[in-house]
């Protein structure tokens, strides 16, 4: 009676767009399940037994009560085959073309950065951005303009960051962005971009609570619920080997940060994400640790507008120079605690 009547109550929802209506109609089962899950896990602390929380997480997993606004945003990141080692050698040509000139005339580098990526690009208590990516942007400003402070940070939304490059709203994107064929080739929604040589090498890592029996991406995942971001490399890994070989349950969220929350709420048993992000998650939760070896290999690069080779050469030259000491300093400051010692990645030019 309640549902039938609600449809005719002259409600705001009645005239809802098809999108909203579908969500409401199709969402009932999910809503009830989510409610059931919440009843099963009434507290938000870790006070509930591991078992109960796993059950709750699983029932939600089987009928994903995921938020409508957080449907898979991207297709799996690989985006087919291509040669990712195509960045120009700094010595191969001009470092003072139109793109670089534009920045020099402006006297300021406009950098697109994230603002919610712990250890990489995040606002500190004073509201200033800080992290590994921010250090790199400052080195770029120094190389281009001779002034580390000559930067304007723009926090461009992730879904239109490539657009922002294409339209010249930002000169570079430095936001822990994996070098993917998808971004190199572009998609109907996102214009193609070019990448620098890698400035950080990463792979998938497993983040677990301190007392967990999980030892990595292996058989210890059997029957455990693992959270990962939709469309990420981790998502592919989990839906393949993770489920088939290791018997893990999987739960997708729109980003890895959400997975940390679910881990803290003990609704999932582990988080799978790349080491860069995983370090940022581990740093926010003292009661967690990274386990097992790195799976697969990805690289972060600085993205510029497609065809801006002069700018790429400056960026690559800056990375080479940073490899001498600045990279190490920055790594030690932000990431070493969580990821252990590492060396700057070797330049890769095409």
């Amino acid at each position: 009676m309640g549902n039938a009547g609600a449809e005719s109550g002259g409600s705001v929802r009645d005239a809802a767009s098809p999108r909203v209506r579908r969500r409401v109609a199709g969402g009932w089962a999910a809503v009830w399940l989510a409610a059931a899950a919440l009843v099963a896990v009434p507290t938000i602390s870790g006070a509930v037994s591991q078992q109960a929380s796993t059950a709750g997480a699983r029932s939600a997993e089987q009928a994903p009560a995921g938020p409508p606004e957080q449907a898979p945003r991207q297709q799996p990141s690989a985006g087919g085959e291509c040669d990712t080692k195509v960045s120009p050698d700094p010595k191969s040509g001009s470092r003072n073309g139109a793109a670089v000139k534009k920045i020099k005339d402006r006297g300021k580098l406009i950098a697109g950065v994230a603002q919610n990526s712990y250890l990489w690009s995040h606002r500190n208590a004073k509201g200033d951005l800080e992290g590994f990516d921010i250090d790199l942007v400052e080195q770029l400003a120094d190389a281009l303009l001779g002034d580390r402070g000559a930067v304007e940070f723009r926090t461009v939304p992730v879904d239109r960051r490539q657009q922002a490059l294409e339209e010249g709203e930002v000169d570079v994107l430095v936001q822990a962005m994996p070098i993917t064929c998808r971004a190199l080739k572009g998609t109907p929604e996102e214009p193609a971009v070019d990448f620098s040589s890698p400035y950080f090498e990463t792979g998938q890592r497993v983040l677990v609570p301190e007392n967990s029996g999980i030892t990595g991406f292996n058989r210890t995942l059997k029957g455990k619920t693992v959270c990962t971001a939709y469309g990420s490399t981790g998502y592919e890994l989990l839906s393949g080997d993770g489920q088939e070989k290791y018997g893990a349950w999987m739960r997708g969220r729109s980003n890895a940060q959400d997975c940390l929350m679910l881990l803290q709420l003990s609704r999932v048993d582990a988080v799978l994400t790349d080491s860069g992000l995983a370090a940022g998650l581990a740093a926010q939760e003292d009661g967690s640790r990274l386990v097992g070896p790195q799976i697969g290999k990805d690289s972060y690069g600085v993205a510029v507008k497609h065809g801006a080779d002069d700018l790429l050469r400056v960026v690559n030259a800056t990375l080479e120079k940073a490899g001498e000491s600045a990279w190490q300093q920055s790594y030690d400051e932000w990431l070493k605690t969580w990821l252990g010692p590492a060396e700057p990645p070797a330049p890769q030019y095409g």
């Binding site: 999910a30 938000i44 940060q257």
Partner: protein, 412 residues
């Protein structure tokens, strides 16, 4: 015969009493109940918006943000407890109340977790707040909305009771008249007297009370219908406008909380803001509210609110452009206040939204007063009828007894 007259009196009194009770139910019980349900719905949507505003201000979270959020949660849980105690017979409402009671603690827990992570400057706080908001939108607000509609339907049903014609009393009245006619005829045949004063008096009394009943009922009915058209219908529209406004505000704030991943929230904002006054899509809540307003004062309040809405949308679009361009600080300052480019922004979307919400709240109050007045006068039309009708019927019965008694005594 006396019995029949007395029976009529009883039926008349009961019919009128029932309608009076129903009219009183509309005014005293059901209307407040649906108003409470609307307030639960509103305060939850408000909590979602204020939690996000407080989060955005972060360490600068003002006392006012906190107080507003807590007041909303308290209002919601107080009214939920009250509704649970009162809606005994409404299953639909009870089910929604159960859902809301189950979800509310989880929601506030997530908001507190978000707040403390935010104070430690950990971005995971952001996830907590989005998760909380997700629970609110996917489960709690729909439940509150359903509850509100269940109560509104109940009010409509009670109102229908109050306006149903008192058929039983009419039937009994006619029966009494027929019986009086029959006895008059019998007396006429037996005694050859055309008129019996007692019976004429009885017939007169019954007729008078029937007329009174009909007139009283018609008045009550029309003023209850009036109260529907001009009171609660406009209150409902305004309430929907307020809630649409709050949802839009919540989405506006959450788009900034999501920091670069808020496109979906922006779309939701457009949807709810569009529901309020877009000409070709949405529900044109503002236009309809203005049309429904009873008097000049009511229309003025809606028009003022509408003007603020237009301001708000304009400022929102400006802030959205700033955020899309990557100028988060400016977008933030234009949304919740603060400094952008070294200057304090005063013309914020928060100000426009708050002004609009205040005007709408005043309009709701204005219309509600009118609704109360109408419902009161609906009851007024029937006042005195049960007693008056009963007295008239007793007079009629006495007349009948006297009239027939006189004839009977002649036989002795």
């Amino acid at each position: 015969m006396t019995l029949v007259t007395v029976l009529f009196g009883v039926l008349l009194a009961t019919a009128v009493y029932e309608r009076q009770t129903a009219a009183r139910n509309v005014a005293e019980q059901s209307a407040p109940l649906s108003a409470d349900a609307a307030e639960i719905y509103r305060s939850l949507a408000d909590a979602d918006a204020t939690a996000a505003a407080g989060f955005l201000r972060g360490s600068k979270e003002s006392h006012a943000d906190r107080v507003a959020y807590e007041a909303n949660i308290r209002t919601a849980s107080r009214l939920l407890a009250k509704a649970a105690a009162r809606t005994g017979d409404s299953f639909a409402a009870q089910r929604q109340i159960t859902i809301l009671n189950n979800e509310l603690p989880g929601y506030t827990g997530l908001v507190e977790a978000a707040r403390s992570a935010n104070r430690e400057n950990k971005p995971v706080g952001n996830s907590y707040l989005r998760y909380a908001s997700e629970q609110m939108r996917s489960t709690m607000l729909p439940a509150a909305e359903d509850m509100y509609h269940a109560e509104t339907r109940r009010m409509a049903a009670i109102r229908a009771d109050a306006t149903e014609p008192p058929w039983a009393a009419y039937g009994a009245g006619l029966l009494v008249l027929a019986v009086i006619g029959f006895y008059s005829y019998r007396l006429y045949v037996a005694t050859n007297r055309i008129l019996n004063l007692g019976l004429v008096a009885a017939a007169g009394a019954v007729l008078a009370s029937l007329v009174w009943l009909t007139a009283g009922h018609a008045t009550a009915r029309s003023s209850l219908a009036d109260s529907d058209a001009h009171g609660s219908a406009s209150v409902q529209l305004l309430t929907q406008s307020r809630i649409a406004g709050l949802k839009a505000r919540g989405n506006e704030n959450m788009a900034l909380v999501a920091r670069g991943e808020g496109a979906a929230y922006s779309q939701e904002f457009d949807y709810w803001a569009g529901a309020m006054d877009d000409k070709d899509k949405g529900q044109r809540l503002m236009q309809r509210s203005e049309g429904q307003a009873e008097d000049e004062a009511g229309r003025k309040l809606v028009a003022d609110a509408w003007a603020e809405l237009k301001d708000w949308k304009q400022l929102h679009n400006q802030a959205r452009k700033q955020d899309d361009r990557g100028d988060y600080d400016a977008a933030l300052a234009h949304t919740i206040g603060g400094k952008a480019d070294g200057e304090t922004v005063t013309d914020t979307t928060e100000r426009s939204f708050a002004a609009m919400d205040r005007k709408l709240a005043a309009a709701v109050e204005h219309e509600q007063e009118q609704f109360q007045e109408q419902a009161e006068s609906g009851r007024g039309a029937l006042t005195g009828l049960p007693v008056g009708g009963a007295v008239l019927c007793l007079l009629g019965a006495a007349g009948a007894v006297l009239g027939i008694g006189k004839r009977l005594s002649e036989y002795r």
